[in-house]
C-alpha cells in the first residue's frame, strides 16, 4: 500500500486516498458516448419534422425560432451533462470543476452536431427522403443555416461545439450566477413560448400598449424587448439576497395564531384570484382553464381509485360518459326517448345516482381481480360504455352516433352560464369540492383501509376490513367525480357524441395523475396543467402531443418516478425501495404488489 501512515494516529481515522480514480470531469469516452446519444436525438427530431414545423414559430423575431431552440438545446444540455463531475464517493477526495473539464462539453457537442451533419449529407446521397418524408430541402436549408452545404455544415458543427462548451462551462460559474443565468434564459424563452397567455394577461390587466412593445407583429419577442427582459430578470436575480429558506419552513416557524391568520389570508387571496382570473385572462385562456378543470376533476377521482385504493382502472372514461349522457338526457329538449327537460341543478342528483350505479356495476364483477387483470377488464368496460352509447339498441334513448344535441346552459338565478369565463366558476366550485373530499378522505379511516388494501388485500381482510364495500366505495367515489366532470362537459359543449369518450381520454387522466404524483393532490393539479393546459397553449405541439406524452412518461419514470409533486410518503417509499434493491435485500416479504405502483 502506498498510503502513508503518520505514527500515532489509529489506522481507521486515516483518510484513504485512491489517486488512480479520475477526479476530473473530463472523460473522453463518456463525452463521445453522450455526444452520440445527443446526435441521435438531433437526427430523430429532425427526421420527425419537429425542427421544420417548429421553425414557423418565432420566439425572438427574427433570429430565433422554436425549431432552432429545440436544435440548440440538445448540444447545450449534453455539454452540461458531459461537464458534470463524477459522483462523490466515500473515501475519495471531493472532485472540483476545472477549466479543462470544458473539453467534455466540446467533444460531446461536436460529436452530436457531426452526426446531424452526416444526416444532411446522407439525405441526398442515399435518397433518404423516400423513407423519411420530413427530410425536405427546407429542412436541409434550416440545418445548414441557408449558407450552402459545405460552409453551412461547418457552421452547424461549430455551433454544436460552441454550445456544448458553453453547456459544460456553466459548471465553472459561481452557483448564484449560473442559477440566475439559467433562470433568466428559461423565463425569456417561456414568455416567448407562451406569447398567447402573456398577451391575454396584458390585455386583461389593461396593459395592451405594452404588448406592442414586447412582441413583434409576426410573432415572437422583439430583440430590444428580449435584451431588456433578460437584463431585468438577470439583474433582479443577482441583486436579491436569497434567504436560503423555503416559504414552508418559514411558515412552520410562525406561532399558531399567526399561522391561522396567514392561512385565512392565503385563502381569501386565492378566492379573489379565482373570481378575477377568468375576467383577466379572457375567453381563450378561460377555455383552456375550463378544460384543465374538467380533467382535474377526473384526475381527483381517478387518484382515489388508482392512487389511494391501488385499483388500476383503464376504463375511467366510462363514468365520464355516464355523467355526460345522464345530464344530456335529463336536460336537453331534443333527447330522443325520455326528455324531462330538467335544469342542470335538478339533474345533478341523478348524475350522482347513475354514476354511483355505474361504479358499482363496474366494481362488482372485478372485486376478486387484481393488478393486470383488473386493468384489462376495466379497459374493456371503457370501450363497452362507448359502444353502448353508439349502439342501435340504445339509440331510442341516447341517439346513437348522432348523439344528443341542444343541451341548454347552466342557469344561476337570472343568468345563464355559457361563455368559457362564466363556466369557469361552476367548474372551479366542483374542483374545490373534489379537492376537499379527496383531502379529507386520504387520512380518514376509509383512506387507511384503501391503503392497506393496496398493500395486501388478504391481510387487510384479516384485519377486518370489508374488502367488498371498501373497493366499491373507491369505485363509486371515483365514478361520481368523473360523472360531475362529464355532466359539466355536456353543458359546456352543448351536445354529447359517443366518439368523444374514447380510450385516449382514460389514458390522459391516468398520465395526469402519474406525472403529477400518484396520491398527491397538488401533483394532480400540476399534472392537469402540464398535460392538458400546456399543449393547448402551445398549439405548435398539438400535432406531436402524444409523442410528448410518451417522452414525458419515459423521462419521468427514469428521473422522477414518484411524480412532479409527490406526497411525502410516496417519495419516501420509492427511494427506500430503490435503495433496498441496490443492496439486494427484499423490501418486503409480502406477495406481489397488486398494481399499486
Amino acid at each position: 500500500m502506498a498510503v502513508s501512515r503518520s505514527p500515532g494516529t489509529p489506522a481507521l481515522e486515516q483518510p484513504i486516498v485512491i489517486t488512480a480514480f479520475p477526479s476530473s470531469a473530463f472523460d473522453i469516452r463518456k463525452s463521445i458516448r453522450l455526444g452520440l446519444i445527443a446526435g441521435l436525438i438531433l437526427v430523430l427530431i429532425s427526421a420527425m419534422g419537429l425542427v421544420e414545423s417548429f421553425d414557423d414559430r418565432m420566439l425572438i423575431d427574427p433570429i430565433l425560432s422554436l425549431g432552432y431552440v429545440l436544435l440548440f438545446l440538445v448540444p447545450l444540455l449534453v455539454g452540461h451533462i458531459a461537464g458534470r463531475l463524477p459522483p462523490l464517493l466515500e473515501g475519495m477526495p471531493a472532485p472540483e470543476h476545472r477549466p479543462r473539464d470544458v473539453l467534455g462539453g466540446l467533444v460531446s457537442g461536436t460529436v452530436a452536431s457531426i452526426l446531424l451533419a452526416l444526416l444532411v449529407i446522407a439525405t441526398p446521397v442515399f435518397d433518404l427522403r423516400t423513407l423519411f418524408i420530413n427530410l425536405s430541402p427546407t429542412l436541409v436549408g434550416l440545418l445548414t443555416l441557408n449558407q450552402g452545404l459545405a460552409s453551412g455544415l461547418l457552421l452547424l458543427v461549430a455551433i454544436g461545439a460552441t454550445l456544448g462548451t458553453i453547456g459544460s462551462a456553466l459548471h465553472l460559474l459561481p452557483d448564484k450566477w449560473r442559477s440566475a443565468l439559467v433562470k433568466s434564459v428559461t423565463w425569456v424563452l417561456g414568455i416567448a413560448l407562451l406569447q398567447d397567455l402573456v398577451l391575454q394577461l396584458l390585455r386583461g390587466l389593461g396593459l395592451s400598449f405594452a404588448s406592442r412593445l414586447i412582441f413583434t407583429v409576426t410573432g415572437g419577442l422583439s430583440i430590444p424587448a428580449t435584451v431588456l427582459i433578460f437584463g431585468i430578470l438577470l439583474g433582479a436575480q443577482l441583486s436579491i439576497k436569497t434567504k436560503g429558506e423555503s416559504l414552508a419552513t418559514r411558515f412552520a416557524r410562525l406561532p399558531d395564531s399567526r399561522k391561522r391568520r396567514t392561512l385565512y389570508a392565503a385563502g381569501v387571496l386565492l378566492l379573489v384570484v379565482i373570481v378575477v382570473l377568468p375576467q383577466i385572462v379572457g375567453p381563450y385562456i378561460s377555455e383552456v382553464l375550463d378544460l384543465v378543470g374538467l380533467f382535474l376533476l377526473m384526475g381527483f377521482g381517478l387518484n382515489i381509485v388508482v392512487g389511494l385504493a391501488g385499483l388500476l382502472d383503464l376504463g375511467y372514461v366510462a363514468f365520464f360518459a355516464v355523467g355526460a349522457y345522464t345530464m344530456a338526457v335529463l336536460v336537453s329538449p331534443s333527447s330522443p326517448g325520455f326528455a324531462p327537460q330538467l335544469t342542470f341543478w335538478l339533474a345533478l342528483p341523478f348524475v350522482v345516482g347513475t354514476a354511483a350505479l355505474a361504479g358499482i356495476l363496474v366494481g362488482l364483477p372485478v372485486l376478486r381481480m387484481r393488478g393486470d387483470y383488473l386493468a384489462i377488464v376495466t379497459l374493456g368496460f371503457g370501450e363497452i360504455a362507448r359502444l353502448l352509447a353508439q349502439s342501435d339498441w340504445l339509440k331510442p334513448f341516447l341517439g346513437g352516433a348522432q348523439g344528443i344535441l341542444r343541451i341548454p346552459n347552466i342557469p344561476v338565478g337570472p343568468i345563464e352560464l355559457h361563455t368559457p369565463p362564466q363556466l369557469f366558476y361552476p367548474i372551479a366550485a366542483f374542483v374545490a369540492l373534489a379537492a376537499y373530499t379527496s383531502w379529507r378522505l386520504q387520512d380518514s379511516r376509509i383512506g387507511r383501509a384503501w391503503m392497506a388494501m393496496r398493500e395486501d388485500e388478504d391481510v387487510a381482510e384479516a384485519m377486518g376490513i370489508n374488502i367488498v364495500t371498501t373497493k366499491l366505495l373507491a369505485f363509486v367515489i371515483g365514478a361520481i367525480l368523473a360523472g360531475f366532470s362529464g355532466a359539466i362537459f355536456a353543458m359546456k359543449i352543448g351536445s354529447v357524441f359517443p366518439h368523444s369518450f374514447n380510450l385516449i381520454f382514460s389514458l390522459t387522466v391516468l398520465v395526469i395523475i402519474i406525472v403529477g404524483g400518484l396520491g398527491s393532490l397538488r401533483g394532480v393539479a400540476l399534472g392537469a396543467l402540464v398535460i392538458v393546459g400546456l399543449p393547448e397553449l402551445l398549439r405548435e405541439f398539438n400535432e406531436f402531443r402524444f409523442l410528448f406524452y410518451g417522452i414525458i412518461l419515459v423521462v419521468m419514470m427514469r428521473l422522477k418516478p414518484e411524480g412532479l409533486l409527490p406526497r411525502a410518503r410516496r417519495a419516501r417509499e420509492i427511494t427506500e425501495e430503490e435503495r433496498a434493491q441496490d443492496v439486494g435485500m427484499p423490501v418486503t416479504a409480502t406477495a406481489a404488489d397488486p398494481g399499486g405502483t
Partner: protein, 242 residues
C-alpha cells in the same frame, strides 16, 4: 384449562373444499380459554387452510365452528374478526409501505378510534421494546425478527379472545425463534388464548398445552403436548429422531 368449561374455539367435524378438491376432512379441534394449542404438520397438510377456514376467508363445506359457543362458520371475515379472532399471517405480511405505527393501528381497525388505543400500544411496547424505537419507520425496512414483533403486535391490537398464529418461526434465525416462542408464552400468560400452527414441532410442543397433528387434511393424532413429545410415531415423523 379445566375441561369442564366451554371451549373458546371449537371445530366440529369441519371439512373445507377448494373447488371440488377436499382440503380439510372432518376436523375436530377444541381450544379452551387460556390454552396454547398447536396444530402440527408438514408442507401442504392443510395448516394454513385451517386458519383461513376459521377466520372465514374460506367457508367450510361441512361442520360447525363456534367461538364461545356462537356459530361463526359462514360469517364474513369482518364479522369473525370483530367477534374476537385475529391472525398473525404466515410470513408476517406487514403493510410494508406503512409505518410501524400505522401497521399497529390497522390491527385495531374494527375498534373505532377511542382512548383505548394508547393503552394497547403501551402493552405492545412492553412486550416488544424494539417496536417502540421503530414506531415511525416504514415496516418494510425492518429486519425479519422486528417484523415478526410488529405482526404479533398488530394482531394483539384487536384485543382478540383467540389469537391465531401461522408459522411464527418461519424464516427466522434460531435465536429469534427461541425468543419468539418465549413471547408467545408471555402473551398467553397475560390471558390470550392461542392457536398456533407450526412445522417446528419441537418448539411448539414445548410451550403448548395440547397438540394436534395434521396429515393431508386429516387429524391423525391429538393429545396433550407432553404425551405428543413422548409419542413414538411423533418422534419419528416430526421430531427428527430415527
Amino acid at each position: 384449562m379445566s375441561a369442564n368449561t366451554e371451549p373458546a374455539l371449537k371445530l366440529d367435524n369441519v371439512s373445507t373444499h377448494y373447488g371440488p378438491i377436499l382440503v380439510l376432512r372432518n376436523m375436530n379441534i377444541e381450544i379452551f380459554p387460556g390454552e396454547i394449542v398447536c396444530l402440527l404438520g408438514g408442507n401442504a397438510s392443510g395448516k394454513t387452510t385451517t386458519l383461513r377456514t376459521i377466520v372465514g376467508m374460506v367457508a367450510p363445506t361441512e361442520g360447525k365452528i363456534t367461538l364461545d359457543g356462537v356459530e361463526i362458520a359462514g360469517l364474513d371475515t369482518t364479522e369473525i374478526v370483530g367477534m374476537g379472532i385475529s391472525m398473525v399471517p404466515e410470513n408476517r405480511r406487514l403493510f410494508s409501505r406503512m409505518t410501524v405505527r400505522e401497521n399497529l393501528e390497522m390491527g385495531a381497525y374494527l375498534r373505532k378510534k377511542g382512548n383505548s388505543h394508547q393503552e394497547d400500544l403501551d402493552r405492545i411496547f412492553e412486550l416488544f421494546p424494539r417496536v417502540k424505537e421503530r414506531l415511525n419507520q416504514r415496516a418494510g425496512t425492518l429486519s425479519g425478527g422486528e417484523q415478526q414483533m410488529v405482526a404479533m403486535g398488530r394482531a394483539l391490537m384487536a384485543r382478540p379472545k383467540v389469537l391465531l398464529m401461522d408459522e411464527p418461526s418461519m424464516g427466522l434465525a434460531p435465536v429469534l425463534v427461541q425468543s419468539t416462542f418465549e413471547i408467545i408464552k408471555e402473551i398467553n400468560r397475560q390471558g390470550t388464548t392461542i392457536f398456533l400452527v407450526e412445522q417446528n414441532a419441537n418448539m411448539a410442543l414445548l410451550i403448548a398445552d395440547h397438540g394436534y397433528v395434521l396429515q393431508t387434511g386429516r387429524i391423525v393424532l391429538a393429545d396433550t403436548a407432553e404425551n405428543l413429545l413422548n409419542n413414538k410415531m411423533m418422534r419419528e415423523a416430526y421430531l427428527g429422531e430415527m
